[in-house]
């Protein structure tokens, strides 16, 4: 079975954009190395259950520019602010924990949604279905109810 995985966020470009390649256990599902700066939506079909691997590349040290006051004035990164599985979002507070990040040259696993590094992000979808995954996360589907909707 397949599901639609969507990662929404923002692309920050400096000397071009980050490259993103998404694979599941069946093969490569998505690739892009020329994001336009600004809002992005990375959408692909993935097998389920699976372990998704997101390869991040194209980042060089010269892509991050810091001024004399220590402020970042230019950067290359992708910041993710939503995970949607079959169009339903994982609650924002739960999102970071779903990204197992490994920076190139390191074995340390971190949980980040700001991807300004070369390396790998893993997302483990080992539950039998997206419903089981959402319930295991205790992810609420927010439905407006008992409220004034037509005012």
């Amino acid at each position: 079975m397949t599901v639609e995985l969507m990662l929404q966020g923002t692309a920050l470009n400096s000397n071009g954009s980050m490259s993103v390649q998404i694979s599941d256990h069946t093969g490569v599902r998505y690739f892009n190395d020329s994001f336009d700066p600004g809002s992005i939506a990375i959408t692909c079909c993935i097998a389920w259950p699976t372990c998704v691997t997101i390869e991040l590349g194209n980042k060089n040290s010269a892509d991050t520019v810091i001024d004399n006051d220590g402020r970042v004035v230019a950067n290359k990164a992708i910041e993710i602010d939503a995970i949607l599985i079959n169009r339903f979002p994982v609650q924002y507070e739960l999102m970071e924990s779903q990204f197992d990040c490994t920076h190139q040259g390191s074995d340390t696993v971190t949980h980040e949604n700001f991807w300004g590094f070369n390396g790998q992000v893993r997302m483990v979808f080992d539950q039998p279905s997206p419903m089981h995954y959402m319930l295991a996360l205790k992810n609420p589907f927010e439905i407006k109810r008992l409220s004034w909707v037509d005012k």
Binding site: F88, S129, P130, M131, F141, K144, S147, V149, K151
Partner: protein
């Protein structure tokens, strides 16, 4: 199979639904194959025996707490398995109220994963948050997220047939505009053949004799939805009763309507037919339904005798025992009329359920005390004929006359219908306290009190 009609779990009722049987009959009459599953009762019965029953009930109120996830997943999976086993081309999900919406979302989410090719159409008053609101918000929410394909708003008997014929421009399909059915006599008799009657602890055959109401109570949203009162003839209703008795051997009928005695001529004729049946059959007919109070002249003693002989159980919409409050909200009968009904019901052994609104916007603290004293003064009617009392917190429902009169009453509205404050400055917390106090009194007097109303719990939580 062309279409499978299912209820969506979330209605904690032990009575059979009517919608599935009506829609099945309409589809079949038009030449389509159809079947029904009351998933609601199957899940309600499973929850009752589940060790996580409390947490599961909270799940229906949108709380995923504790380790209830696996149990919820099992329930949803069970529903999907039942649907998949039936192998329908189209799935019609019936939502009775907004209480069904949370489970519907999870169910559709999982259905899309397990069986992406089944076309899903939803209907029923639960496809909106409130029945009288102009927009079909919940159904649009599901549709925009691709969790359903279509929805049918309003009366669905003819629209569902047009939907099966692929005519998606029929009234009510994917639109807030729908048409009330003019002649209820033309509808086929409901088909309950798929029902497993043993699942229902409050067993009876549902029957619809009318839609809409003859009164115009300002708090009521039903009259804003069905704007015209439409009734069936006594001949049509009684023929359906005989058909269902013959088919299922059940002689208790549950009228799903706003009132049984809206058209007194047809109602009297129906009572005569039932009485004639009861006098010649060993298993008599019983029925229950909503009933409006009128004057003694309109409901003479001979009428009460007929209700008794016909096996009637009446649900009286009293709303307030404070006469000025009740009459101003649209129930034009006196306290003398109520006492007359209590007297007649006792004399002729007609069981009653009283429906009360607690803390109406025009009620004062003195009225609260009057209400309690009113019950105390009528202790002789406790149990016989008053079996139970249903207490609901006053709610300002969207698009009702009461909603439109908010400024006139000086009502400041909160975020939900039961949260508001009026000129008397009696806040929600005080109304909840009055509700609880009245419930305790009623229970102490030996009457049943339906106090599990979700709106009370929501208001209690909001004001805690």
């Amino acid at each position: 199979m062309d279409i499978l009609f299912c209820t969506v779990p979330g209605t904690f009722s032990s009575r059979p639904p009517l919608s599935l049987a009506v829609l099945k009959a309409c589809a079949q009459q038009a030449g389509f194959t159809a079947s029904t599953i009351d998933l609601n009762i199957e899940i309600v019965n499973q929850i009752t025996h589940n060790p996580h029953s409390k947490e599961l009930e909270l799940f229906f109120k949108q709380q995923v707490i504790g380790n209830v996830g696996d149990a919820v997943a099992d329930l949803v999976e069970y529903c999907v398995d039942r649907i998949v086993a039936a192998n329908p081309r189209i799935l019609g999900l019936s939502l009775l109220t907004q209480e069904n919406q949370f489970f519907a979302t999870w169910l559709c989410y999982h259905l899309r994963f397990r069986t992406p090719n089944i076309r899903i159409v939803i209907g029923g008053s639960g496809i909106k948050t409130f029945i009288a609101q102009p927009t079909v918000d919940f159904a649009e929410f599901l549709k925009s997220n691709c969790l359903i394909d279509d929805y049918i708003n309003g009366d669905g008997e003819y629209s569902v047939v047009e939907y099966l014929r692929n005519n998606h421009s029929a009234p009510g399909i994917n639109t807030s505009n729908w048409q009330q059915i003019d002649d209820l006599n033309q509808l086929p008799f409901p088909d309950f053949d798929d029902y497993n009657w043993s699942q229902y602890s409050d067993l009876g055959v549902p029957i619809c004799d009318s839609r809409g109401c003859v009164r115009t109570c300002e708090f009521c949203d039903v009259i804003e939805h069905w704007t015209r009162y439409k009734y069936r003839s006594a001949d049509s209703i009684f023929s359906e009763m005989l058909h269902q008795i013959q088919r299922h051997g059940i002689t208790k009928f549950l009228f799903y309507n706003s009132l049984t005695n809206g058209n007194m001529k047809e109602f009297n004729r129906l009572l005569d037919k039932i009485i004639e049946y009861n006098q010649t059959h060993a298993d008599p007919i019983f029925w229950d339904g909503y009933f409006i109070v009128r004057s003694a002249k309109q409901h003479p003693e001979s009428f009460w005798k007929k209700i008794s002989l016909s096996g009637g159980f009446l649900q009286l919409g009293i709303e307030s025992v404070v006469e000025k409050v009740r009459i101003s909200l649209g129930k034009n009968f006196t306290n003398e009329d109520i006492d007359y009904h209590l007297l007649m019901a006792k004399k002729y052994h007609v069981p009653l359920m009283l429906l009360m609104i607690v803390g109406y916007p025009t009620e004062s603290r003195e009225d609260f005390e009057f209400t309690k004293q009113w019950f105390l003064d009528r202790e002789e009617y406790a149990r016989v004929p008053i079996k139970n009392v249903v207490l609901s917190l006053a709610a300002i429902l969207p698009n009702t006359q009461l909603d439109r009169r908010k400024q006139q009453y000086g009502i400041i509205q909160g975020e939900i219908p039961t949260i508001w404050i009026a000129q008397q400055s009696i806040g929600t917390a005080e109304r909840v306290a009055h509700h609880d106090s009245l419930a305790r009194l009623i229970l102490a007097m030996g009457m049943g009190a339906n106090i599990g109303n979700n709106s009370v719990e929501v208001a209690r939580k909001e004001t805690a």
